[in-house]
């Protein structure tokens, strides 16, 4: 059960912070692009495209998803096509080490 070396590996952690109203849509997009899991929490925030609407919506949503590189690329494209132009959304990616790498890709 602990032949962990074999299934250690590296995946991309993509963090997306967006106005709360987008939660459902973002998760749908992430899933469509091939992500197999995500973690969502509540947040407040401020950014270049600030407008007061997220207060009325009850804040921002902060989504983390660990995905393979190709999935990350697909999610980026979807963000650029459907979310970045018109919504308050920030996203960033970095590499993380996981065990049981197969679960995330």
């Amino acid at each position: 059960m602990t032949d962990s070396v074999s299934d250690f590996g590296s995946v991309t952690c993509l963090t997306i912070v967006a106005e709360g109203i987008l939660e459902e849509r973002l998760l749908a997009v992430i899933e469509e692009c091939g992500a197999r899991g995500w973690t969502v929490s509540m947040a407040q925030g401020h950014g270049p495209s600030h407008h007061g609407v997220s207060g009325i919506e009850g804040g921002n949503v902060r989504v983390e998803t660990l995905v393979a590189e190709d999935v990350a690329t697909r999610i980026w494209s979807a963000l650029e096509a459907d979310f970045f132009p018109n919504y308050a959304v920030s996203a960033w990616a970095y590499d993380v080490r996981v065990a049981r790498v197969a679960r995330y890709s």
């Binding site: 609407v53 009325i56 009850g58 804040g59 919504y87």
Partner: protein
């Protein structure tokens, strides 16, 4: 009603805890005080308000006879279509806003403000003026068409993804809680309601007070956008509620409602949504600038209605009733 009585009612409204809490929120922002209802509690509070108003409306609906409520429903539906069209047209005259932004505004002003509505209810109850219990039903009915018409005005009928968007609006949380509440109230009736009244009824004004404290702060943070709004938008944000409120009062009176009820229909028409509409418009018209709609709906129209409008629409309703009577 003479002037003095009107002023007294205006004062009752101005010094009601919810309105004062709204002002306190404005003050807090201007003092740069770090005060915020945590998001989790804010969300639960707005769920509570929607569900409570729905349930109350459902209980009242059950007690109203179909014949009694038919005309008010028709009036409400007509107003729900006419008002956003009027807003869309008037904005074209008064402001340089494009089609998308005007459609967004139309959706906000075509829909209604739950909080203004409940402030009006609190006001009528404090003034011991009777009104039909089913007005909460009218609130629910008026919630949706305005948004739909506004979106259609912005996008036209051909717009791709319109179906999906409408689904998001109609099955969104606001509508679900309102309509679900209506159904619960209707099915449970006064007997079942009595058991949850201490929660959904008695606490309502207090919870609303807390919610308005937060809305006051949100509005306070919006004030810079208000200052940037052109004069046309300012005129619209004040004048349109008067026009729409008057239309609502007339509609309600024609439909046979009492003075209090006609006044409430006026308030529903005059008020602009900032719970259901902003969400729907963000999803469906992302190019629309929220700073404009919020500055207008929350930054100007809402406080105007809350402080001046509410007693004014009552005056209107009394005047109109005296024409007919």
């Amino acid at each position: 009603m003479d002037l003095q009585a009107s002023l007294e009612l205006a004062l009752i409204n101005l010094t009601s805890p919810p309105v004062l809490a709204f002002v306190l929120g404005l003050v807090a922002v201007s003092l740069r005080t770090d005060l915020r209802l945590p998001d989790a509690v804010y969300q639960a509070t707005s769920m509570y308000l929607l569900l409570a108003i729905g349930i109350k409306g459902g209980v009242a609906l059950r007690e109203a006879s179909p014949s009694e409520i038919a005309w008010p429903l028709v009036a409400t539906l007509v107003l729900g279509v006419v008002i956003p069209i009027g807003a869309f047209a008037l904005l074209r005259v008064l402001t340089p806003l494009g089609r998308i932004d005007r459609g967004a505004m139309a959706a906000h002003y075509g829909s209604t403000s739950l909080v203004t509505f409940t402030a009006a209810i609190v006001f009528l109850e404090a003034s011991s003026i009777a009104f039909e219990g089913y007005v909460a039903t009218l609130l629910t009915v008026l919630e949706i068409p305005g948004i739909v018409v506004g979106l259609l005005l912005a996008r036209g009928l051909r717009g791709g993804g319109m179906g999906e968007t409408l689904r998001e609006v109609v099955f969104g949380r606001s509508v679900l809680l309102l309509v679900g509440g209506l159904a619960i109230g209707f099915l449970t009736g006064p007997v079942g309601y009595a058991r949850v009244e201490p929660f959904f009824g008695d606490l309502f004004a207090g919870v609303l007070t807390l919610f308005l404290l937060e809305l006051g702060m949100l509005t306070g943070r919006q004030l810079s956008a208000v200052r940037q709004a052109g004069p046309g938008l300012v005129v619209f944000a004040i004048a349109f509620p008067l026009v729409a409120g008057f239309a609502g009062v007339i509609g309600g009176t024609l439909a046979g409602m009492e003075v209090g009820g006609a006044m409430i229909l006026g308030v529903l028409c005059a008020s602009a949504s900032y719970i259901a509409a902003p969400a729907a418009v963000r999803l469906a018209l992302p190019e629309a600038k929220p700073s404009i709609t919020l500055a207008s709906a929350l930054g100007m129209t809402f406080p105007f209605n809350l402080i001046i409008g509410i007693p004014l629409y009552l005056l209107m309703a009394e005047v109109v009733a005296s024409w007919w009577g």
